[in-house]
Symmetry: C2
Subunit: 590 residues, 2 copies
């Protein structure tokens, strides 16, 4: 019997459930995978050899495709991962052949304030310590591949400064003339290390590198991670890695990883990371994990390869997108589904009463800034705040409706929610025409998610008339306009002079024709301003700059500043994590 | 049939042999390991659960203990790993129950000039790509654990600057008053990144860290790696991690990882790294891999836990120490054997004709500086250089003899060595009283190592009167004096004023009584000066400083500067490494 989540922390529930885990071979057998297709990592985790599986199942039919998104979240999140896992368990209880694919948590949040992303209560994935602390090493592989590019760049800058053309030619090098003021890439580390945000490197003598400004970003925000998420094959991955723009030369030409002769070696570090990871929920359903979080700068989706495999293996496959429907679902809809060439059936919009109250600013709800605990008032009944804040949910429902995908609202209930609040929210959501389910998967696991599972199953039976927000040949400016108006609810878009110039360049250069449009915007508001809550009207989206990711093939219009390196707070999670030295078990994770 | 090493590069030989690999379960079965004790990582690699194995085999008898060391090497090494693997294969051909434990290669050298440390020719470990590119993630775990301590430190510096005592107390923190000019620890990355050797971090505003000098060192030189190598149990590891000194406070008191409340979380990142890794040679013998290289600053040995397990599993166990007998063997002898509480039987001294010629400076041999190819003249017969340079080998033989362990000289032959050279070297070595074997394991694998295997088996039958160079209660100054005179061949020791002061402090403070003495000296000379070759007489060892590693419990007398961050050269290995995108195979490793 699982422990009671109202009495035990997540890690205790996980440890107890781990005593009843299936081996990875059992999990694989249930999915119809052969032993050769499973690459075990310990007894309970496996990588799945995507080359072998896709070869075998190339012509198998695809399962129904279910996405999980959410409302505009509080800084602590609204339980989207927990709902994904709960729904997976609920569909498991209904005896469906079901998989999910979630993202690997980053060591940064896990060691800091937000904690791991393993779900919570009785909707968790296990083994928890392995899941939370590096899993099979994919983020480390991304980190090593990324940093190797920076090693190649900085060593090359040093060698080109120290040696003449003749000496360079002796080892087959031609001068690249890299502009040290135009290095686009930084280094990565998988922690929240604000002290490494802005650094000066290369201090010393002629053998100590090249002195210049530099920076570290969190590993999951790396372009290499974005490439891992969108690559359709190893060949595609190798090519994209080669096209990453590390810097520009003095004549404004891009210097890529291929130019630095490091793309092959980077791919070698990623050779295993391309295989998705298979773990399980505490109720024994198979759950895949692949690629990283960070939907506000990278794509923030589980991988294309992960979904490809799961759709072949299961009748129902659930995938998770980062943050609210304005961010994660928009990218899922217009980018990931394009890459996949698949039509989704259902999008589950995770909503919490607490989270919607915090959007009730017009009714006087207090702010809930990042790095602070949720205000106490949110745990007391307040129908006025909830009713006002529900506008945010309705906005997200409308986003999903525009794609033709069926929205299902999952009210992710907390023990402090009152019956009156739950009734009110259900009524408001139902009036929008969406299916609505009250889901108590945190408290009761799959049993608590049966209403949600049934709503999803019902929606899956309906025909879908899926349409993209924009066409393949829609110019960039029109794409941005459409996303701003139809997804975010803005009245229009305003460009800085710099962004305007880049917009013209990108629209006129055929090289960028197949680049994906990857908006960069805060996840804490439908607008570009994280302090504006609810579903604001009458505002204009400012685009300050447009970044190019040559390898991922993304053009990223920047609606505001996004830090690529979060900071570690004064009360981080690492203070409470330890190891039981008698058993090797990790304690204190959440 | 394996490929011919005179016609194929190492990675082609490895790939061919990988088509005939044993699964990790077969390997484990041959060693008498249960399925539960094996934690597979893919089909061919496993971690061995040390808690379970040591519990089961606590009272099993130990096998014979064989160490592999070498002469003072050229910058490219003399094939010590190749000889270790060759001997393992040779003993395998003699049907002995044999294991080896080698060190995990660092990504730095593997991507740079030296290449991987998988052996070479027909004496290699496989799978090569996995072995060379992170294996099961132990170095990444060390890197993450180490960097997490720096995250804790730098965030704490920021918070203590920004907040008053009251605000700190709210989250249960007391002011540590860390002195930002006395931060002892740097960050780590597992590449040769000279640009990160000296950096300034924390540039920006009050939420961007604390501005100060900092540095990156290569991950394998981390104190955390040293701790992984010497820890006798998870409990011991946890305790040592807590005692790492990260900085000093303004009153000169050490700030440890325990003070930063990060030691438990660091140990959590290391929870799997403590289990040794099991791979195989191209002839199918079991080979363990555990802990990292870098014998000139850290201990540079495979782990104590690895040897503990192997000695229980095999009748003959081979372990490798870094660099020549002055460095690696000295630490094996006086530090590792103390921790293990085991008596070694044989030390194999790896010698190459090429390497000994480069010690023949008194006969006019040209220099062979780091970062350059071996001079062409070394591949032509030159008996005079060899005879002069053989003094270096005789010196290393004498070091081993002082321990009471039986020296066996392995002449690791190269295709360019001439019969006259081999005859001469054998005669000189035999005259010293050592057993000598000409070993052609690079060319012929285990068959080529039978003479070496037989010499080792013979030596193992002889009684050993093992003695440490110094006693447990020998004061630090006497230990240094003994090592300088009896191991390095110096006339004495000369201390800087700083070292002298520290020496007194450490000798008088009972806290340091059980700290190991871990000399720091170049591996490229018996002296402190890397340009001095042969077996020099009439010199004095200068000790400039003595470092304290509070977690590893090392006192490190510094005989010269050792860079903890090597530089990437102008023709690094990563240029030639790639992935076959159809099969996922890595090409170009060496």
């Amino acid at each position: 019997m699982p422990l009671d989540p109202t009495e035990h922390p997540d890690w205790e529930i996980a440890l107890e459930a781990e005593s009843r885990m299936k081996t990875c071979y059992q999990l694989g057998e249930e999915l119809g995978l052969t032993k050769e297709e499973l690459l075990p990592y310990g007894h309970y985790i496996a990588k799945v050899d995507y080359l072998k599986v896709m070869e075998r199942l190339r012509d198998a039919p695809d399962g129904k495709f279910i996405e999980v998104t959410g409302i505009t979240p509080t800084p602590l999140g609204e339980g989207k991962s927990t709902t994904t896992i709960g729904l997976l368990q609920g569909l498991g209880r209904r005896k469906k052949r079901v998989t999910a694919c979630i993202r690997q948590p980053s060591g940064g949040p896990t060691m800091n304030i937000k904690g791991s992303a393993a779900g919570g209560g009785l909707s968790q994935v296990i083994p928890l310590a392995e899941f939370s602390l590096g899993l099979t090493g994919d983020i480390n592989a991304v980190m090593n591949a990324h940093n190797l590019a920076m090693v190649a760049l900085t060593a090359r800058l040093q060698h080109e400064r120290n040696y003449d053309d003749e000496r360079l030619a002796k080892v087959g090098l031609r001068r690249l003339n890299i502009d040290p003021t135009r290095v686009e890439m930084g280094w990565v580390i998988d922690f929240c290390a604000q002290a490494l945000r802005n650094i000066i490197i290369g201090i010393g003598g002629r053998m100590d590198g090249y002195m210049m400004q530099s920076r570290f970003q969190i590993a999951s925000s790396s372009e290499v991670m974005a490439i891992l998420a969108v690559a359709r094959s190893l060949e595609d991955l190798r090519q994209r890695i080669g096209q990453i723009i590390v810097a520009y030369d003095k004549k404004d030409r891009p210097i890529t990883c291929e130019d630095l002769e490091v793309a092959g070696a980077m791919t070698a570090w990623l050779r295993s990371a391309i295989n998705p990871n298979l773990i399980q929920t505490i109720e024994g359903q198979p759950c895949f994990v692949h690629a990283g979080p960070f939907a506000n700068i990278a794509i923030g989706q589980s991988s294309v390869i992960g979904d490809q495999i799961c759709l072949k293996l299961a009748d129902y496959h659930i995938t998770e997108s980062g943050f609210g429907a304005d961010i994660g679902f928009e990218k899922f809809w217009n980018v990931k589904c394009r890459y996949l060439g698949k039509v989704p059936h259902v999008s589950v919009i995770t909503a919490t009463i607490r989270g919607l109250k915090h959007h009730g600013v017009t009714a006087g709800a207090p702010p809930c800034p990042p790095g602070r605990p949720i205000p106490k008032e949110y745990f007391e009944e307040n129908l006025a705040w909830l009713e006002a804040g529900a506008a945010n949910l309705l906005h997200h429902i409308n986003i999903v409706k525009k794609s033709g995908v069926h929205p299902v609202v999952a009210i992710n209930v907390f023990p402090t929610d009152t019956p009156a609040e739950i009734r009110l929210l259900r009524r408001i959501a139902e009036q929008s025409g969406a299916r609505v389910a009250v889901s108590n998967h945190w408290r009761y696991g799959g049993e608590g998610a049966l209403e949600l599972a049934d709503a999803v199953l019902d929606a899956c039976e309906q025909p879908v008339s899926f349409r993209y927000l924009y066409e393949d040949d829609t110019p960039l400016s029109e794409r941005i306009e459409k996303i701003a108006r139809e997804v975010y609810g803005a009245d229009g878009v305003e460009y800085s002079r710099e962004a305007e110039a880049k917009l013209k360049e990108f629209e006129n250069n055929p090289k960028y024709r197949d680049f994906a449009t990857m908006m960069v915007k805060t996840h804490l508001s439908l607008t570009h301003d994280p302090t504006i809550k609810g579903a604001p009207k009458g505002w204009t989206l400012p685009i300050k700059d447009i970044l190019v990711y040559g390898g991922a093939r993304f053009l990223c219009p920047m609606a505001g500043e996004i830090s690529l390196m979060p900071g570690t707070g004064s009360d981080p999670a690492f203070r409470r994590i330890d190891v039981d030295v008698k058993t090797g078990r990790v304690t204190g994770l959440f």
